[in-house]
């Protein structure tokens, strides 16, 4: 389930981080799959390109975990789209993932640049 940057700067997304990125994206409001993909790309400075083959399974998985909920709505361009929104459980999950992530970054940074 690797998510790969498509261009020169390839980054292998760590296992499980896509879920966190999606939850992170959704904390600013409900969004549909297409926009979530674009948002991750934009927020990562075009470094992360999430493939549909990873994005949609991830969305469905998160929904099954009841961290996000979906409903069909009209988009700003008057198109029907499936909007996902964060649930209370999802918010909790996001904060726990955030703290875990910070810990991980700190740990890896330490390991890579020994004092």
């Amino acid at each position: 389930m690797g998510v790969t940057g498509r261009y020169k700067n390839r980054i292998e997304l760590l296992q499980g981080t896509l879920d966190m990125l999606i939850l992170q994206t959704l904390q600013w409001g409900p969004q549909h799959g297409h926009r979530i993909g674009l948002a991750i790309r934009a927020n990562s400075g075009e470094l992360l390109h999430v493939e549909t083959g990873s994005l949609y399974p991830a969305l469905h998985r998160l929904e099954r975990q009841r961290w996000i909920k979906s409903e069909w709505k009209l988009s700003e361009n008057n198109q029907r789209a499936k909007y996902y929104r964060l649930t209370a459980a999802g918010k909790k999950q996001l904060s726990s993932e955030q703290s875990r992530w910070k810990l991980l970054v700190k740990a890896i940074a330490k390991a890579m640049r020994p004092a």
Partner: protein
């Protein structure tokens, strides 16, 4: 719930579809906004999205339950496959459903007879009570003892009673003569069973002595009389009908209900007070929480009390409890045996059917090796493929099971009321309430599962392991490969099972033949017998006069050579104790009361001494004739005539005047039973059989004798010839033989279908080989001979195995047959020859078209 999951799944599927469409639409719109042409935008957004089918596939995985998906795929795929091969499928379903119908039907019949009528409430708490004699025989209970048990026990809520005998009641119904079969029962009988009436009411306390007497008609009897809804209050015989039993209540103690339940008061009253007149079998309901063992202990104590209070009558008698069924206590073990034999046969037929279906599926599998190998090459897992094949056989089995269940249910409904003819008493309607209950449904499902595994696994394993290159290149399959071994094993099993079935049929028929030709101890063949008895309440003097009169009147009929009063062979007599005067040897003997002409009329040889004569009168010393077995048992090596012994209840001294040849007294299968004859002049009985020897075909005298007897008002029974009587006594054996024969015939039919299929496919698979052989100059007859030789070997192996099992079965069940040796050549040889002939014929006819094909065509298109 899986079906919810199923519908939810379709919804999810649809949503995913929409979601992807909407993704593409948004992307396209944005691309157009950026200035791409609509066509380009659409194409590029699709390209950008990637493999939509793959995305769907991966997304679906996150929903879980992929196996469910695959099962639905298999389930929708299987009917298409089966429809394409509908002939094979139909044959398979036909075979399996026949076998399963048999299974379902025989289990229901067994259920019906071995378990209590379902109409009874809480049948687990019902027990039958009978009196066991010192010799271990199941006997009846006297009315005074019954009353004692009823009043003094603490373990039953109540005890009901019914005589084991039935009554034939001759009456008029709507102006025409009618015979009905009546069963007297105690007035608490229905409340013990816990049965509610269909119409009117059932018996209640006080009905035992109601005047005029009341009766309850059975549902089947009510139907036979025209299902009159206003039957309550009408009079049948001398009893007023007060109610109708429910349809489900079809049997009670000692078999079927007959037509009418009468009250006990109908009978003559002497047995109601005498402790040595034992006529009743009891049915009792255990109090809640009391086990059968506790109840048995209590009954044993009560019997011991009775035995010490009334040593003359009740010594050595113990009240014994058994599970309450429709059968008499002593009938339960043989009935269980018969049912288990039948079920074994059913399983045998089922196995043949399974082998059939397995063969047919294997044949389908052969045709699908190409499909299988392509699928395997494309990366389908082998397990998945096996599951697909198993789904197909499961569908066949499920269809068969449903069909079998429906057919069986239809048969049960059709035969729920049977009217059958008892030759002497006339028509009896028998209600058989055969239910397809949970046990039977469970059994059907079990049969189905067995069938699925037995039929599906081998073909599935076979078809899923093809040698890819071999199949795709149309490689020649030469005989002797592993799969042929597997196929041959199936055919051998089938032939063996079928042979075993035929051996069973042969044994039954042979045994029946032996019984029909067994020596019944009488030389007379042109005999007609009829039960006669003076009307109820006639005195002994009146009875004797009537006997003399009927004797005289029948003797006067033209063509009647001789007339006697006594018993027909095979007409179970009274069993009494006999012992030497010094109290030494003690045996149980069967007794009969006969007149002076009996031995000469019926043709029983006197071996020593004399028969009864006019000199033996009421006041002269009581004399008896004994049979050889009895003489040898009591006085081995001595002359019996002149000896005396004690016999009967109570024991009385009698003198032996003659020894007669042995005969058959109870049933044709017995041998060496001790018997003793009393003289009618010294030993009046209110009921006897008149026997006439005629100068020609005895059937011609049935009518005249009937007329003569009717004129004297000697009861409702019809005369019967001795051959019909013997035939009737073989009813059980005939029914069993008929069932086994029908099952074997079905087995044979199925085996023929199976063999035909097996040989056809075996040959068709090798048509390329045959083509090449033919092209190289092999004669067609030589090819045919080759096929026949192989069939001979395979069938021979099957027959040998079947015969071996047959001999084993014979040894195990020999006691159930009559005059059968362990290796019964008269059965084994014909069966062997027939099976071999059938196999070779099938091989010939199924192989001929293939062998006759054009060799070049065969090679090209194999």
């Amino acid at each position: 719930m899986w079906w919810k999951a199923f519908f939810r799944r379709r919804q999810l599927e649809q949503e995913l579809e929409n979601e992807i469409d909407s993704h593409l639409a948004i992307e396209t719109q944005q691309r157009i906004a950026r200035g791409e042409s609509p066509a380009d935008a659409q194409r590029n957004s699709r390209k950008d999205f990637g493999n939509a089918a793959l995305v769907k596939e991966i997304t679906r995985d996150t929903w879980g339950r992929r196996w469910l998906d695959e099962i639905f795929q298999d389930l929708s795929h299987a009917p298409r496959v089966l429809r394409r091969r509908w002939k094979l499928t139909a044959t398979a379903i036909f075979s399996l459903s026949i076998a399963m119908t048999l299974g379902v039907a025989s289990l229901s019949v067994g259920n019906t007879f071995l378990l209590l009528p379902p109409a009874a409430a809480e049948p687990d708490r019902l027990v039958t009570i009978y009196a066991r004699t010192a010799g271990g025989d199941a006997g009846q209970v006297s009315y005074p003892d019954y009353k004692y048990f009823r009043e003094n026990n603490h373990v039953f809520t109540d005890i009901g009673a019914a005589p084991t005998s039935i009554q034939a009641i001759q009456t008029n119904w709507n102006g025409s003569p009618l015979n009905v079969v009546g069963r007297p029962v105690s007035d608490n009988y229905f409340s013990v069973l816990g049965i509610r009436p269909y119409l009117g009411r059932l018996f209640s306390p006080g009905d035992d002595t109601a005047k005029p007497p009341v009766a309850v008609i059975t549902y089947s009897g009510w139907r036979r009389l025209g299902a009159d809804p206003n039957i309550i209050g009408k009079v049948i015989g001398s009893s007023t009908i007060v109610g109708v039993t429910p349809k489900e209540f079809t049997g009670s103690l000692y078999g079927v209900n007959g037509d009418l339940f009468t009250s006990l008061s109908e009978d003559n009253a002497s047995w109601l007070t005498q402790r040595d007149q034992r006529r009743l079998v009891l049915i009792a309901r255990l109090k809640p929480g009391i086990t059968r063992r506790q109840a048995q202990a209590e009954m044993r104590a009560l019997s011991a009390g009775l035995a010490s209070t009334y040593p003359k009558e009740d010594k050595d008698l113990t009240a014994v409890l058994t599970r309450a069924t429709q059968l008499a206590p002593e009938m339960i073990p043989p009935a269980e045996l018969i049912v288990s034999i039948l079920l074994t046969f059913v399983v045998l037929v089922l196995l043949i059917a399974c082998a059939n279906v397995a063969n047919l599926l294997l044949a389908i599998a052969v045709g699908r090796r190409q499909e299988a190998s392509i699928k395997l090459a494309l990366g389908v897992q082998r397990g998945r493929l096996i599951r697909q094949f198993l789904t197909e056989s499961a569908m066949i089995c499920a269809a068969s099971a449903v069909l079998a269940y429906v057919i069986a249910a239809g048969l049960m409904a059709r035969y729920s009321v049977i009217t059958f003819e008892q030759p002497m008493a006339g028509a009896i309607s028998v209600g058989l309430h055969m239910t397809l209950d949970a046990t039977v449904a469970g059994f059907t499902v079990a049969l189905m599962l067995i069938a699925i595994l037995a039929t599906g696994l081998a073909p599935a394993l076979y078809a899923s392991s093809p040698n890819l290159s071999q199949v795709l290149s149309g490689e020649i399959a030469v005989g002797g490969t592993r799969k042929n071994v597997r196929r041959n094993a199936l055919v051998i099993a089938q032939v063996a099972a079928c042979t075993l079935g035929l051996v069973g049929m042969g044994l039954c028929e042979r045994s029946l033949y032996n019984l029909r030709h067994a020596d019944i101890g009488v030389t007379g063949r042109n005999l007609v017998g009829v039960w006669v008895g003076p009307h109820e309440g006639a005195s002994e003097t009146q009875g004797k006069e009537l006997y003399a009169k009927v004797h005289e009147d029948v003797s006067a009929l033209p063509g009647v050579e001789s007339v006697a009063l006594g018993s027909l062979p095979l007409q179970s007599y009274n069993e009494v104790q006999a012992q030497l005067p010094d109290g030494g040897r003690k045996i149980s003997v069967t007794t009969s009361v006969v007149d002076n002409d009996y031995f000469t009329t019926i043709g029983i040889r006197m071996l020593a001494g004399r028969a009864f004569s006019p000199a033996d009168i009421e006041n002269s010393p009581e004399v008896v004739v004994v049979n050889r077995t009895m003489a040898d048992a009591l006085w081995p090596g001595q002359d019996a005539p002149g000896k005396s012994l004690l016999a009967g209840t109570p024991l009385r001294k009698v003198i032996v005047i003659g020894v007669a040849a042995d005969g058959k007294y109870g049933d044709l299968g017995e041998s060496g039973r001790a018997a003793m004859y009393y003289a009618l002049s010294q030993h009046y009985v209110p009921f006897i059989t008149l026997i006439a020897r005629t100068s020609g075909d005895p059937r011609l005298w049935v009518e005249p004798i009937d007329k003569t007897k009717r004129a004297l008002d000697l009861g409702p029974f019809r005369p019967i010839t001795i051959d019909d009587w013997i035939n009737f006594s073989l009813l059980t054996e005939r029914i069993t033989a008929w069932c086994v024969a029908a099952l074997s015939a079905l087995g044979l039919l199925l085996a023929i279908v199976g063999l035909f299929g097996a040989v056809s496919y075996f040959v068709s698979e090798r048509k390329k080989e045959f083509g090449i052989r033919a092209a190289l100059g092999a004669e067609r007859s030589a090819l045919l001979r080759m096929v026949l030789r192989e069939t001979f070997l395979i069938a021979g192996a099957g027959i040998a195995i079947g015969i071996l099992f047959g001999v084993g079965t014979t040894v195990l069940l020999r006691s159930q047959f009559y005059g059968i040796s362990p290796v019964e050549w008269t059965v084994l040889l014909p069966v062997t020859a027939a099976m071999m002939a059938v196999s070779l014929l099938i091989a010939y006819f199924s192989a001929r078209p293939w062998v006759a094909a054009d060799p070049l065509e065969a090679v090209r298109h194999a």
